[in-house]
């Protein structure tokens, strides 16, 4: 089994390295389209910088952004996937290897000593979240590298449910206007609505990771996503907050049932350099990349 584990680590570390240097296909397409539609001169200048940066990063094999973030993994783990018990250790090792090979900026800082571990691993990092898929022999691995600027405006609260969509919209718009400029727009906005604060926050993260251009499968939620996107785009903070014609690449809402008397709401942003990558492994470790045609 050792060789299988090594093979898995090698693929994942290569992908973490790649994911820092290449944005997913949907994000590159979306930015190109937004740049084409933009009319504001200053905004066009900013889009030009972003698109040129993406090209240069690919040409020179360098991280798209110097803030390669804290590495987060979201695992859909088939209960019959052969390497399950090796996963936590393997993912950690993959991050350590990619940190050297890419190189990634060391971003794991211990509290309260403020000591940087230097390896992008340490207490609680990489963050790993597991979802179990009964009877499956596959493993779907999402890696997300979120920079500090994009994490900064994230917020969560608990509302009385009577606040409704109006309350949610105001909460999200406030977060975007107050802090979104520094989260490197155009933004992906993930909103979670659930029973309490942490469950909402977790769903907000999942919402952020959805493929661009896909609305919720629930008709009423999809309608709210369209309305909220229109509202945030009307504010038009533009690329890097310089103004322009839009604010967002996508607005996604994930929900769970809430308590009759309390509703957790959370919002989480991703920057234009949305470093999201998804790999799907078969039991024999045949791998398919769902986000990057070039991997």
């Amino acid at each position: 089994m050792e060789s299988d584990k090594q093979k898995f680590i090698s693929v994942v570390s290569r992908f973490v390295d790649y994911n820092a240097k290449r944005l997913p296909d949907d994000v590159v397409l979306c930015l190109g389209k937004m740049a084409d539609e933009e009319r504001d001169e200053r905004a066009k200048l900013m889009y030009g910088c972003m698109l040129r940066d993406i090209e240069l990063a690919a040409e020179t094999s360098r991280p798209v952004c110097q803030d390669t973030g804290l590495v987060q993994f979201f695992v859909e783990a088939g209960t019959e996937f052969p390497l399950l018990r090796e996963l936590p250790e393997a993912l950690k090792e993959a991050v350590e290897r990619a940190s050297v090979s890419a190189p990634l900026r060391p971003n794991a800082v211990e509290y309260p000593s403020e000591n940087n571990t230097g390896t992008n691993t340490g207490r609680g990092v990489p963050y790993i979240e597991y979802d179990i898929v009964p009877d499956s022999r596959k493993l779907k691995l999402t890696v997300y590298m979120q920079g500090g600027g994009a994490a900064l405006p994230g917020r969560a609260a608990v509302f009385p449910p009577s606040k409704g969509f109006r309350g949610i919209a105001e909460f999200v718009a406030d977060a975007m206007v107050e802090k979104g400029i520094n989260a490197c727009p155009p933004l992906v906005v993930g909103v979670g609505v659930a029973g309490c604060m942490p469950t909402a926050a977790k769903l907000a993260k999942h919402a952020c990771l959805r493929k661009l251009g896909r609305y919720s499968e629930l008709t009423e939620i999809a309608e709210e996503e369209r309305k909220l996107k229109a509202l945030l785009d009307e504010i038009a903070i533009g690329p890097q907050g310089v103004g322009g014609r839009a604010s967002t690449m996508a607005v996604n809402i994930e929900t769970a049932c809430h308590h009759p008397s309390s509703m957790g709401v959370a919002v989480q942003f991703s920057c234009w350099a949305m470093r999201r990558g998804v790999l799907e492994f078969d039991e024999d470790l045949t791998v398919k990349c769902l986000t990057h045609g070039g991997f």
Partner: protein
Amino acid sequence: MKILNLPIAEEEVRALAAGDVVYITGELVTGRDRVHERVVKEKKMPGISLKNGAVFHAGPIVTGDKGNYKTVAVGPTTSMRMEAFEADFIAATGVRIIIGKGGMGQKTAAACQKYGAVHLMFAGGAAVLAADKVVDTYGVEWEDLGMPEAMWLLRMKEFGPLVVSVDAKGGNLFEENKKIFNERKQIALEKLSDTGEIK
């Protein structure tokens, strides 16, 4: 293409207006939270002079050893994090150009007017584009602060486009934008009824 050469004269800085697009050639230093704390709170100065120079709010990825450093990626970090320190940093170092992401607040804007300094914004995340303009990573001060926080000494050629966000005449691009965004937000929200329907 308007190129500013470092070190820069006070008159040239005072002539810039919020919204202008410029490029920078010459030697600058990186400095973010810990560098600002060290200068302002701990009253320490680096081994090089920043007078008439520029500080770039950035934590780069640098490879190689002493004498052979290479900046792989260097994009701006959020300048507002340095707001509490920047006015005192300008006073202590004599720096005239501050470069970062987003804008800065009233305290920094007042110091820019008083001392003759400006804040320039660069597209956040465009770290390879910026690194491409680094001709030489010729040294580092305070390396004990760790890679992102250390003061890296960079020689730049035509680094930009940079947009003047805070000028020395009281202009502040992002403060103005924030007012506009807040107004638009109110209007957009007012269109929603209490039940979330668009009126």
